[in-house]
């Protein structure tokens, strides 16, 4: 019985400023150490100033994960020395004097399992450390404080996961959810990180830290489960400890025992007063929450009779659901949805491509109209989309330029069919004997016409020719 729990850190990069100062929340565009101020550098005499919108964003995350939110929240200091911590303490949240973090006792449905969310808290990201120098002796620690103070939401789950695969599914759901809320950009490098804990057969829990990406997380989990299983099989005790993921060697390694001595001396961060989350504010946030993914999916399925799988794909991705929402009308919703999931997804399959694509909702509805009025074939639409993605030109212009008008004239099609029958004699024989193989011939006609032949008519004419 494998049990996995997660500790996920998500940067709130959609905010304009850091958690405690007005430096930029998304630090990526800056030269090292040029997105800093006395506050995030922890200069003597500086004081933190809490970002109002960060509290709102974190509250919305808590609501989206069905968490309970407390009446008031507080911040605490986690005291330890590390070069990436300008103050040598991190301002974070904790449930010590009752519930003081932004949310708790929530859940996320992953397939048929309910993954419980133990706690959500706001905290500041530390700076970034880069090591320079090849050998142990010459290693220098270089620090870039641009990231110090970036707002983070930490999401801690119960150890409810049963497999690394389930973890992966959960993380995809969570990423989509956070993006849909408009609080985070999970696609940005380093914007979402996760540590995990693993135990097997009811044994001791091992924490794994220092995992760089979700990809690495899955690897680390697999490795750790295998490691624990092999110990278990040989009757060797699995020590409760913290291990870190060694990315070079692709293994988990026991962290120095000094972790055990660490005492964070948690106490209230007195420079930030307790913040009341009154019911009025909570109600306001709830009202303005963007529609949830599951609610969108339900709507697509029920109202527009869109297939569940298709609805799932579109609802889960903000880019696609935006395209869909602005393109469909009552009559063509299903077609638009199918066009997106069959064709668009095929070639716009990364966040980067989504950002660079010039396809608009209008393009989609115009293409569907053209297909339905038999001006072009479905295949041609696909070709057109690829061009539109790059150039952004109007639908009509592209169709004309690429000469994608549907070929529906019977005699034209018959000519092509005759050519194909000449070229593919064996296929013709096959088709006469086994009618289900006729699609090969249809395919050849489509190839020859660059997809422009009306496929229905083509099939009709081929069939009648075969009979004659």
């Amino acid at each position: 019985m494998t049990k996995i729990g997660l500790e996920i850190h998500c940067q709130l990069t959609k905010l304009k400023s850091k958690l405690f100062c007005s430096c930029k929340a998304n630090y990526r565009e800056f030269e090292p150490n040029h997105n800093i101020c006395p506050v995030c550098m922890g200069l003597p005499g500086s004081l933190p100033r809490l970002n109002q919108k960060a509290v709102e964003s974190a509250t919305r995350i808590a609501m989206a994960l069905s968490c309970e939110t407390p009446e008031k929240i507080a911040f605490f200091r986690k005291n330890y020395f590390y070069p990436d911590l300008p103050k040598n303490f991190q301002i974070t949240q904790l449930n010590v004097y009752g519930d003081t973090s932004i949310g708790g006792e929530g859940y996320v449905n992953v397939e048929d399992k309910k993954i419980k969310i133990r706690r959500i808290q706001l905290e500041e990201d530390p700076g970034r450390i880069i090591y320079e120098g090849a050998s142990e002796r010459t290693k220098i620690t270089l620090i870039d404080y641009n990231r110090a103070g970036t707002p983070l939401v930490e999401i801690v789950t119960d150890p409810d996961f049963e497999s690394p695969r389930q973890v992966r599914v959960f993380l995809n759901i969570l990423s989509d959810l956070l993006e849909n809320l408009g609080v985070a950009e999970p696609g940005l490098e380093g914007a979402m990180r996760a540590d995990g804990n693993v135990s097997i057969e009811g044994g001791k829990k091992v924490e794994i830290k220092n995992i760089g990406s979700f990809h690495d997380l899955e690897k680390a989990l697999h490795f750790e489960i295998t490691r624990q299983q092999s110990l278990f099989e040989r009757d060797i005790e699995i020590v409760q400890e913290t291990r870190h993921w060694d990315d070079k060697r692709k293994i988990t390694v026991s962290s120095r025992s000094k972790e055990k001595d660490q005492d964070y001396r948690y106490f209230l961060e007195n420079d930030i007063p307790w913040i009341k989350l009154d019911q009025g504010m909570l109600d306001g946030l709830k009202k303005n929450m963007p529609e949830s993914i599951s609610s969108k999916k339900e709507r697509y399925v029920e109202k527009y009779d869109i297939a569940s799988q298709v609805a799932e794909i579109i609802a889960s991705d903000k880019y696609y659901s935006n395209l869909f929402e602005n393109a469909y009308s009552d009559s063509n919703a299903k077609d638009i949805a199918n066009l997106i999931t069959t064709d668009v997804i095929g070639f716009i399959d990364t966040k980067e491509k989504q950002q660079n694509s010039k396809i608009t909702s209008r393009h989609l509805s115009e293409l569907i109209d053209a297909i339905n009025s038999k001006t072009i074939t479905r295949n041609s639409a696909k070709v057109a989309l690829q061009e539109i993605m790059k150039s952004g030109k109007g639908t009509r212009e592209v169709l004309e330029e690429l000469d994608l008008g549907q070929v529906s004239d019977s005699s034209e099609i018959e000519n092509i069919i005759s050519q194909i029958f000449e070229e593919e004699k064996q296929a013709v024989i096959d088709a006469k004997e086994r009618p289900e193989t006729v699609n090969f011939l249809v395919g050849k006609v489509m190839q020859k016409t660059k997809g422009k032949a009306d496929p229905v008519k083509t099939l009709e004419l081929i069939k009648s020719k075969l009979l004659s």
């Binding site: 006395p38 200069l43 003597p44 005499g45 020395f81 040598n88 106490f267 007195n270 420079d271």
Partner: protein, 482 residues
Amino acid sequence: MNLNTSILKYIEDVKSGSFTVEEFTAATLQRIKDIDGDIHAYLSLNDSAINDAKLIDQKISSGEKIGQCYGFPISIKDNICITGTKTTCASKMLENFVAPYTATVVNRLHAEDAVITGKTNLDEFAMGLTTEFSAFGPTKNPWNLDYVPGGSSGGSAASVAANECLASLGSDTGGSVRNPASFCSVVGLKPTYGLISRYGLISYANSIEQIGPMTKTVKDSAFLLNIIAGQDANDDTTIDSNNQNYLENIEDGIEGKKIGIIKEMTTSDGLSSEVSTATKDTIHDFESLGASCEEISLPTIPYTIAAYYTITSTEAGSNLARYDNIRYGYELESEGYEYNSYISKSRTKFGPEVTRRIILGGFVPSAGHAGKYFLKSLKVKSKLISEVNNAFKKFDYMISPTAPVQPFKFGEKIDDPVTLMLLDYNTVTANLTGKPAISVPYRVVNGLPIGMQIMANSLKEKSLLQAAYALESKTTLPEVPL
């Protein structure tokens, strides 16, 4: 030129043309030159003080709008940041730290055309009661150079008492403005927590400390409070003070007011006989001013010193963790060191008292001990707050002597930690509860000053200053012998 004047009188004189800002500033700087070698109130001086003074004179003569301060000279405790100046907290750890930004309170002074004379000496990182813990040598009490000036704002108090400036901004965590004010015979006010911005005040115990004005007269204190008080966007702990004018109606008197004499702070066996006598006389003075005085017991007070030191050392341990000499500090080459050993090595520059408080601050909130020390202390704080709030339902003010003793000689108290801690006995209550309290110079006996403390309820500075002014009107004090 008479440097033993008040801010308000100085402004009158400048307005009437008795002297220029430059003249007074020059005389002040000369005075510093003459005596600060003996007193050592200042750690650094403002090179552009004369230029600043000249600019203000120009503004005056050209009829341009001029700030309320009219260029009066003020010193600033060296744990408050001013751009481009060394801000050392009297510590070797910050020997070379030049602040890249300015504290809000100093910005407000600049905006009103005050002239900063320089930064004053303190106990290292504001931890101490005698200024003997300064890494750069102690400050001497202007009333008798063999005696301590009090602390931690000893330099601030001495600079005002010795006429090296007309006022100073100190900081008060457990009595650090009031105690040296009492020892040097100046007025020292610790305002309500949250009234004055701490942005730019280098933190020692951030949950209870406040910047406070130190002046010759109570009216000057009110004047200065008008300038520096008020909410600051840079400090989330500041509160709305309703923009009061603290000078207005300050002479209203205390007829009919009820004054509580804090029993635990005025028992005769806790006080020296001179202080005890002064206390009794103070009560008579208040009664003659029309107030009624009655004893009140606050049973939590005997536990406040332990709670105070537990809480402040916890916060100090955390607030001083940033001093690892990596981003700022002093010169120490990191070549050859490993990270942890470099930090430990560089932090050996902390003085002995700071070192001890940091160790304490690691101990009392630690996992195994927090329940016994730190969490209990937080509860003592809460209990004290209820007790004091209750008392203020009945009384308008509560009084006690500021310090249980008069100033003492250097080296006298420094060796016994408990005796030293207990000097704060009468002052920490105001810090732990966040209430405003003021020390008014009351008497000088055998050449050594005694101050009396008045406490009021939160945000009642206006009323507090009225009581202080009334008491001050009953006193006649000698001039400082220097």
